[in-house]
Symmetry: C2
Subunit: 327 residues, 2 copies
């Protein structure tokens, strides 16, 4: 039963959004409860920030659990910090809710708390408004000066790497929309890959000074690598045989479909990055020390655009090339 009782905005914040994330942070000078939050970074550090909105029915299914929504909302934004190589500092939350549903808020708050503890990000400010369910998170991270992993540094000859496996989240999303044969263990794995994407914060930080460009894979490898190519004014070739797939994806969909999901599916929040080939050994070692699989999947060349070729050298073609919010 859903219990709804009147609750002011101030009570709501105090009950569900106070003391989220680590309590002590040397960077947070003022947290929730004033007109502004205040951050102070050590001398020589810069502040990286990214804002993302998740809308019900667009970025997660309408019936998604509030615990899962909260975890996913924070992870998706933290992934942008990972892609720059930034260390977590704090986050803000603008939450639009259709009504004050306290059991819902209780679960949402628990998910947010778990994710904030996991990523070591205190909640320092926010806004709650009434409307269709939407969650906007802005994350803030710190970086030494002039060292951020931008999209614009890829050079011809650089190798292209990805972390983890690709396509899990897209298969998970498909499974939510149409049922097909999976075991309960496979379903649980896919569910967690969609709702609890693992922002690769530690990897991003380790790549500072090694990678030439980086991006997180939110729209699909083809589309996101395309952003690196555009920003760097280079071309990219991917090798279809090298694209890393989880055992579950290999088991539940055929190989052509698996490749399609891996290249165009998005939502995996793994990192795609480029680096000079002399960095290859060190980068693979980085991944091993963090227990994050790193796979070399292609090469940067002069030109523009992204192509994927199979073992025979033929271009792999798909009707779509990545998720566009407004197509």
């Amino acid at each position: 039963m859903t219990v709804r009782e009147p609750l002011t905005e101030f009570e709501l914040i105090s009950r569900y959004f106070s003391a989220i994330g680590p309590i002590k942070s040397s960077s947070v000078k003022l947290g929730i409860g004033d007109d502004c939050a205040i951050l102070s970074l050590p001398v020589g550090q810069q502040l990286a920030m990214s804002i993302d909105t998740l809308v019900a029915g667009r970025h997660f299914p309408d019936g998604a659990q509030p615990y899962d929504i909260a975890r996913r909302a924070l992870a998706v934004s933290v992934s942008d910090l990972a892609a720059m190589g930034a260390s977590p500092v704090a986050f803000t939350l603008a939450l639009t809710l259709p009504d004050v549903d306290q059991p819902w808020l209780q679960q949402f708050s628990a998910g947010l708390r778990d994710a904030a503890d996991y990523y070591q990000l205190p909640l320092i400010g926010g806004d709650t408004t009434q409307g269709m369910l939407a969650i906007t998170v802005q994350v803030h991270g710190s970086l030494p000066q002039n060292i951020a992993l931008k999209r614009s540094g890829a050079k011809p000859g650089d190798a292209i790497f990805v972390s983890g496996n690709l396509g899990d989240a897209a298969v998970a999303l498909t499974l939510m929309q149409q049922s097909f044969d999976v075991t309960s263990a496979q379903q649980a794995f896919l569910h967690s890959r969609f709702y609890q994407p693992q922002a690769q914060l530690a990897l991003g930080q380790q790549l500072l000074g090694k990678a030439s460009a980086a991006i997180d894979i939110s729209d699909g490898l083809l589309a996101d690598l395309g952003h690196i190519c555009k920003a760097s004014a280079v071309a990219a070739t991917l090798y279809s045989q090298q694209i890393p797939l989880s055992d579950v994806v290999k088991d539940v969909v055929d190989s052509q479909r698996a490749l399609y999901y891996a290249l165009t599916g998005g939502d995996d929040y793994e990192l795609c990055f480029t680096a000079p080939v002399v960095q290859r050994a060190e980068i693979i070692a980085c991944g091993q020390s963090l227990a994050v699989p790193i796979t070399e999947v292609g090469v940067i060349a002069a030109g523009d655009g992204v192509q994927c070729i199979d073992q025979a050298g033929a271009i792999v073609d798909f009707p779509h090339s990545g998720y566009q919010h407004f197509q």
Copy 2:
């Protein structure tokens, strides 16, 4: 006629949200177009930030002009910087739109550009998503260390001040919902007071080191002064005769209703602040030098709660005491 044509998120951002606000900013190290934006502040400066969401039908009427919505959205957030005494640095925008309506976006973009130029705030990052119209803005400002105007510094004996006139925006909102006799000049004045609130940035900065506590009036003077009292563990008494009202408000509503709007209406985005009485002359002079009227409206005492008394010393009573988003 509304023309709708397919537009990718990237084209949309490039067409309507690039180069908004001052182009050159020494604090902005990386703007729109990467996974994160990057800010760097001078040594000794802290970063103040505030996030606010405006939802169609809640924070502005459904038929509001996109130009007005954009201006209001930025001003409302900048007002939080003003309330801390911060200087503007940059802002981010998370925009949720029902569809890609290019004439709408054109006007919205123009309003955002005008406000960003006015407040000298570059747009450094954002997100666009599809859903019910909602605008989330996070503003960032800079402050010297340990000098921010918090809500928690008011002391018994301090005088209470407000900038500008109160109640204009509430009368404007009422006029949008029910018609009553106003001249077109009065209507234009009220419209601009609602849609183009004047965030008191310069005043806030001038009050650093002079005011003991400050807040911007978004929910109504009684409610917002109540936040100062709660955070400072003090009580406040307001003098009803002192509450500053515009000539238009005095002309179009009776005096009791005018006082009600001024005390409970919200949306004016003037500053309410407290200061030791020894600062009175300097504060009034501040206002004069900025051409911002400053009015002393009451006094802080030991205790808790906010009351307003009339000339006879009787307590002025209203059924409501400020706008609560979820009541």
